[in-house]
Amino acid sequence: MTFWPRSSVAKKFLNGLTGLGLVLFIIIHLAGNLLLLTGNPDDLNRYAHKLESLGPLLLFAQIGLALFFILHILSALTVYFDRLRARPARYAVSGDAGGASRKTISSETMLYTGLVLLVFVPWHVISLKFGPGMAQGYVTELDGVAVRDLYRLVVEYFQNPVHVILYVAVMLFLGFHLRHGFWSMIQSLGAYHPRLTPLWYTGGLLFAAAMAVGYLVIPIWIYMNGAKI
């Protein structure tokens, strides 16, 4: 497999690059999702319909995204297996040096938070994107055209408290993943700057919190306001 990077540096570059792509995606995805909170069901439905009408362009983006997701996981797993090989005997006492260290609960649990997301994403895509559509009666009218009523599907979906609790939990895991992942991806791409890197490191915490909160308020808000919608 010549396309698969063999060296440690190249593997981390791949992980950082795919991480960057996924970070851009979650920003755009959150911006789209916030349309659920405008109070007008047409906003989300119009946006979703516009995306769907991109046709092959959308398909191309989706395949690219799936590829990034898979490469991100594979490169992360090789890092994990390298680690198992490189440290067969563990320390009896584990310590933290503090000081300049950026080792956190977040950095040490990247594999586990990542695995949670790996399970979550297919479930999420199957239940909403590939969930019931126009054939199942989720139809609304926009400017005289019948389109899928994604809004109603999402609102109904989050009337189930189990869905809400699971989504909120997963978004907390996402936040933990991003806390280390955000600045780490920049470092993996080889970008370091004496003044900017500390900024990215702190910014990573803010970004992680913003993403986690941004995503998790949506199901909670819908659940609490569902009856009125």
Binding site: R6, S7, S8, V9, A10, K11, K12, F13, T78, V79, D82, R83, R85, A86, R87, P88, A89, R90, Y91, A92, V93, S94, G95, D96, A97, G98, G99, A100, S101, R102, K103, S107, E108, M110, H180, W183, S184, Q187, S188, L189, G190, A191, Y192, P194, T197
Partner: protein, 251 residues
């Protein structure tokens, strides 16, 4: 003062090790940590037991020979120093302390707290050198180097090759050491002739030696007695990726 020690004892590379507890009494807070171990070893020798093996040479924090893990932290609780520069005043009277060797597949234990760090030497042999003409030594000032460049190179060159970065890394990666060596030579004019080959060869050798991968925990920088920054790891990555890109374009 008194210290209660729990020390990893392992007779030889193939033996299975275990922790053994010792109590050392009548210590002065002004003693160095290694002097405390010297005291323990004298007592053990008098009793006819095998002394605890540990590495040290200069005991001035400049040679990179010493190093083991104290309570889970390589070189112990003080930042920016080697274990030979650690003093008992940094410990409490009656404190219990656990001593372990650096643990990594690439650093096999030879005995007790002594590990084999020759993997570092093989990485250096793979590319951590420069070409110089034979004959009489060139004039020291014949190559002018701007002060910022000299200082930047020296920040990296300060690495003493102790291996604490590997020991502290959750992945047992040697990236801080290797990047320090690469950065030191990449920044100086003398390092230019082999610059391109160097980074590829040293990274390849690092990977062959069974070190882990760097996932940017930064624990290495925190334990490094010479405060080598992970900016060197980013520099190594840029050097490496530039070479890969150039080779790719040349296809």
């Amino acid at each position: 003062m008194t210290l209660h020690l729990r020390i990893w004892r392992q007779a030889h590379a193939q033996a299975s090790g275990r922790f053994v507890s010792y109590t050392v009494k009548d210590l002065s807070p002004d003693m160095s940590f290694l002097e405390m171990l010297d005291v323990l070893n004298e007592e053990l020798t008098k009793k006819g037991e095998a002394p605890v093996e540990f590495d040290s040479d200069c005991r001035e924090g400049i040679c990179g020979t010493c190093g083991f893990v104290i309570d889970g932290v390589a070189h112990g609780p003080r930042r920016g120093r080697t274990v030979c520069q650690l003093y008992l005043r940094d410990f409490r009277d009656g404190q219990s302390v656990t001593l372990e060797p650096f643990r990594a597949k690439a650093f096999p234990v030879i005995q007790d707290l002594v590990v084999d760090r020759s993997a570092f030497e093989r990485i250096i042999a793979a590319g951590g050198y420069i070409s110089v003409d034979t004959g009489s030594a060139p004039d020291a000032n014949s190559i002018l180097i701007p002060k910022e460049v000299a200082e930047g190179a020296f920040d990296a060159a300060a690495c003493i090759g102790c291996g604490a970065c590997v020991a502290a890394c959750p992945n047992a990666s040697a990236s801080l050491f290797v990047s320090a060596k690469i950065a030191h030579l990449a920044l100086l004019p003398q390092g230019q002739p082999e610059r391109h080959r160097r980074v590829l060869k040293m990274v390849a050798q690092m990977d062959r030696e069974n070190f882990g991968n760097c996932s940017n925990h930064g624990e290495c920088e925190a334990v490094c007695p010479k405060n080598i920054s992970i900016k060197q790891i980013a520099l190594m990555r840029r050097e490496y990726l530039t070479e890969i890109w150039k080779n790719f374009r040349a296809l």
